[in-house]
Symmetry: C2
Subunit: 270 residues, 2 copies
Amino acid sequence: MGRFVTIDDPEDPRIADYRAIRERDLVGRRELFIAEGEVVLTTLIASRRHRPLSLLLDASRVAGLAERLATVEADVPIFVATRSVIDAIAGFPLHRGILAIGRRGALPDAAALLAGLGDRATVVVALGIANHDNMGGLFRNAAAFGADAVLIDAASCDPFYRKAIRVSVGHVLTVPFARIAAEVDPLGLLAAAGFEALALTPSGGEALAGLEPAARTAALFGTEGPGLSADLLARTRRVTIEMAPGVDSLNVATCAGVVLHRLATAPRRA
Amino acid sequence: MGRFVTIDDPEDPRIADYRAIRERDLVGRRELFIAEGEVVLTTLIASRRHRPLSLLLDASRVAGLAERLATVEADVPIFVATRSVIDAIAGFPLHRGILAIGRRGALPDAAALLAGLGDRATVVVALGIANHDNMGGLFRNAAAFGADAVLIDAASCDPFYRKAIRVSVGHVLTVPFARIAAEVDPLGLLAAAGFEALALTPSGGEALAGLEPAARTAALFGTEGPGLSADLLARTRRVTIEMAPGVDSLNVATCAGVVLHRLATAPRRA
């Protein structure tokens, strides 16, 4: 059980890390992250990779969380405050009344992560995903459809941003992921690990509904507007989601959901 | 071509309808709606059901829109202002510099809308969808996968809310939809029109990947948390999206995308 500390003053220096978190997590303290809400807190407490440094709870939420708080290490402070003090600390109305600061575990090397996956594996590759909602949605869908890992290129946003974690329903903390260094060719990395790369194209690719993926498959998702570069598309197995005439785009997280459902249920080529 | 009117003063009474739109569309003037951005404006101008009452454009956007503005009726004012005047009018930085006020066409009766659809038809039914992003996502995915109509119960939010229209990429204006009155049983309405109702359940339903839908199929989508009521589920054909163990939920718009892709590509029962 962590040790409870009552906070009466929003200016208390002990909760300085929580002050004005809405602006603060934009500036990126890359080793720390904000966890918000009961599901994400529960995931953080249970995680072996990422650790809570402290919690900040609305006093009215403590009783309901007792069972989970019992598993928090003894040296982790559990700050408890009234709703109005918490809102004053956070700088906006925090409806869920549950915050934590976590320290992220070290990211694995991308090549090592791929090498360690099974003979039948699915990897999500995010290329230039700059929107935190979309990044969170990718992780949520990766978890939902049992993808084994997520790879993120240097142009993509940080999945540990508060809103991305929240939209992922905590799955940023559960799905193994790695960064692809800016100087590394994603397709070369995947090929070296025996992964076939799939990329979506609005027309002319194999129909998704009939797709038989390779045993080790990586699905690439790019930005919604420009999508993936022509050069990159030319070097992938191209797949087209069957859509109505005149409509050629889906939200990237929805797109990933549709593709990952097929990858999760389709027969695999040897 | 609409008639151009230059606006220099954010307090000009002629653009009163645009003032503080972020708060304004929350209060719901149900016959009007705000269209934002180039894609939605283009959809509105082309719509036969919904009509623009006026436009408010950043002066720097006018030249690029000339072709589309040429098809706006002559009595529709096209207000043109500098970026700073527009931001002052709207009450927040309006990055796209394109706004319009539209008047919505009359909604069809739900039973009449269903009766008019083809022998092979897909309908999306939104039950208690209170989040505007999710509502917009439902319409976007309905359009992407060629759904023929959307039905919305009395507990769902207004799809004509600015953000829902924007997230739908304008498809709130293109997909036929109707409201189900509070006193009407959605399943009775669907059955009377010969539609089989599908509902999602986390486990125990038919696997989505093998689903053979009826020729006329309605897919029901409820709120993310509680989902559809047990009573309602018991009266539907229940379908389960194959998900990883321990994960039992998807964002409702993603969920609709996955289901509608199957409905668009599956063989249909007679």
